[in-house]
Amino acid sequence: MTSKPFRYRKDLIIGIVIIAVFLLLSFFIPGTSFLLARILIMMLFATGVNIMFGYGGMIAFGNAIFLGFGSYSFILLLSKAGIPYAAAILLTLVMTMIFSFLIALLVLRVQALTLGMLFMGLNLLVYNLGNYVPLLGRGVGISYASRPSFALDDRSFLIFTLVIVAVCFVLMYKILHSPFNQIIKGIRENEMRLTFVGINTKQVKRLMIVVSGTFCGISGVLYSMLNSGAYVTYLDTDISIQGLAMCLLGGMFTFWGPSIGAAVITFINVYIGGMTIYHRFILGIILILVIYFFPGGVLGYGNEDEVSARKFIKKLIPSGKEKKDE
């Protein structure tokens, strides 16, 4: 497809602009580094969620598990097992991949809405475990200063996060825009036909969950560095639902959509939460507005994905006879 090289260039420019914006804001407006780092981490999380949700078509109601797993294992490895820093990061990565694989095995036994419910059930279970198990800090969580020694203060930590998130984004972009992408789209649109062609769709879905889980786990590691600890709130279903809301708000059919959603929602959580106690109200209004006016999210349906997006929506309607409402 001749449009590909242009696509890369456009997205590359967007990426560079974002990096520049973050750096500028951090340097010229003091005190925002903490918030900016948090937004970056949430952008990574939301894009990770979207791998399962928008691209993979699975209802991702429980990605907080991956975020929580990433943070808790990292903190535990550092604090309780005393493993050196770089090794801990690598080990957490490997453990998160294995964990996502196990979850994938579990979760793919069912489909569609039931998958979403099972996922949420797992989320609840893990959240409760976080409350009970002494190793996990029993409801409080574990506090541990876990920032890398060269990035202790907020601004240098922001730069560190920027680098890691940028690398992750490049990786995700490559995965999602490779020939693999065609298979993903196929699963989303007409899975049965894909099996006729001989592709093991279940394996592909498993892979997507592992990829999604790994990147959500990485965001978890960064999050625990940011907050110097792993807390039970990381496992809350609230985070999973906000992840979904971020994807929806920004546009679940595009690459940058979830990032925009993440920025908006995190911003609201932190700042509006400080101005008024009615921040749930605002989240609710956003959800409702998005569903009414921007069903594809802020970024709409994107270019090349538009056709397949129509088909995806059609597929979700039970009787299949209604036309897409647009």
Binding site: M120, L125, R280, I285, L287, I288, L316
Partner: protein, 289 residues
């Protein structure tokens, strides 16, 4: 021996209250194909409204009635004004809309009732204890059991013996066919939604003297009701009944034997059922692709 009876009765009463909420959700799911994530907010609404009317008039039963009626009206508004326009959209969006509505309601409660813990005492008529096998057992729980069973019977009657019930069942089985037969499915759907909401408001109101609620916290009812639905099968009212009883009993006896971890029981049960029989105990296997 009497302690087992005690646990059985408390498990039964809490299970049946969960059933009310779960049945409401089941009706909404089977009729509108939407899982109402705002159900918890409506349940809390029932509790809060009953509290206000109880405080104002001194009559608990008036409070319950008021809660059911007003919640029903509110539910009607939500379904007509908010769900109807996006009726043709994918269920996922409607689900998220209900979630948004839930959030809105939640903060509205905070605004209207302030930030406080709401609780009330059992109305005087029901506030006594009966002697069961030597142990005095509070009558209010028995009252709850009786009321819930009555509601079950009423629902069964309406569904099986009345015309409206027949239409409901038809919609659940095959909506398009009913549409073809000239019945206004959309209006029926709104009605089903209202019924679902009223049921959960009733549960909330009845729950007031036992647990009360806190305006700033999210209602924990939603997740247990979802667990019940999943165990029983999404959209199956019979399944909701069985699921509710199972959850109620297991939690109740779990507190006796595994007291350390008993609050994990609902989520454990849910995961277990999903692994063994994903469509729920009473659910039918669907080809969801």
């Amino acid at each position: 021996m009497s302690i087992y009876l005690y646990q059985f009765l408390t498990g039964l009463s809490s299970g049946l209250l969960y059933f009310l909420t779960a049945a409401g959700m089941a009706i909404i799911v089977s009729g509108l194909n939407v899982i109402n994530f705002g159900q918890g907010a409506f349940c809390m609404f029932g509790t809060l409204l009953c509290y206000s009317v109880y405080e104002a008039t001194g009559s608990f039963f008036l409070g319950v009635a008021a809660a059911v009626v007003v919640a029903g009206v509110l539910g009607g508004y939500v379904t007509e004004a908010m769900l109807r326009p996006i009726y043709k959209r994918p269920p996922l969006f409607q689900l998220l809309l209900t979630m948004g509505v839930g959030y809105l309601l939640q903060d509205f409660f905070l605004f209207a009732w302030g930030n406080r813990m709401i609780s009330a005492s059992v109305p005087e008529i029901l506030n006594f204890r009966v002697n069961l096998l030597g142990l005095p057992f509070p009558f209010y729980y028995i009252f709850l059991i009786i009321i819930s069973l009555i509601i079950c019977a009423v629902m069964l009657f309406v569904f099986k013996k009345t015309k409206i019930g027949m239409i409901f069942r038809a919609i659940i089985t095959n909506r398009d066919m009913v549409d073809c037969m000239g019945i206004n499915v959309k209006k029926m759907n709104s009605l089903m939604f209202i019924v679902g909401i009223s049921l959960t408001a009733l549960a909330g109101a009845l729950n007031l003297p036992i647990t009360g609620t806190q305006t700033a916290a999210e209602s924990p009812v939603l997740f247990t009701a979802m667990a019940v639905l999943i165990i029983g099968g999404i959209g199956e009212i019979k399944g909701a009944f069985i699921g509710a009883l199972i959850v109620g009993m297991c939690t109740s006896f779990g507190a006796m034997f595994f007291s350390q971890y008993y609050s994990l029981i609902p989520s454990l049960l849910m995961v277990l059922v999903l692994l063994i029989k994903p469509e729920g105990l009473c659910g039918k296997k669907t080809n969801a692709g």
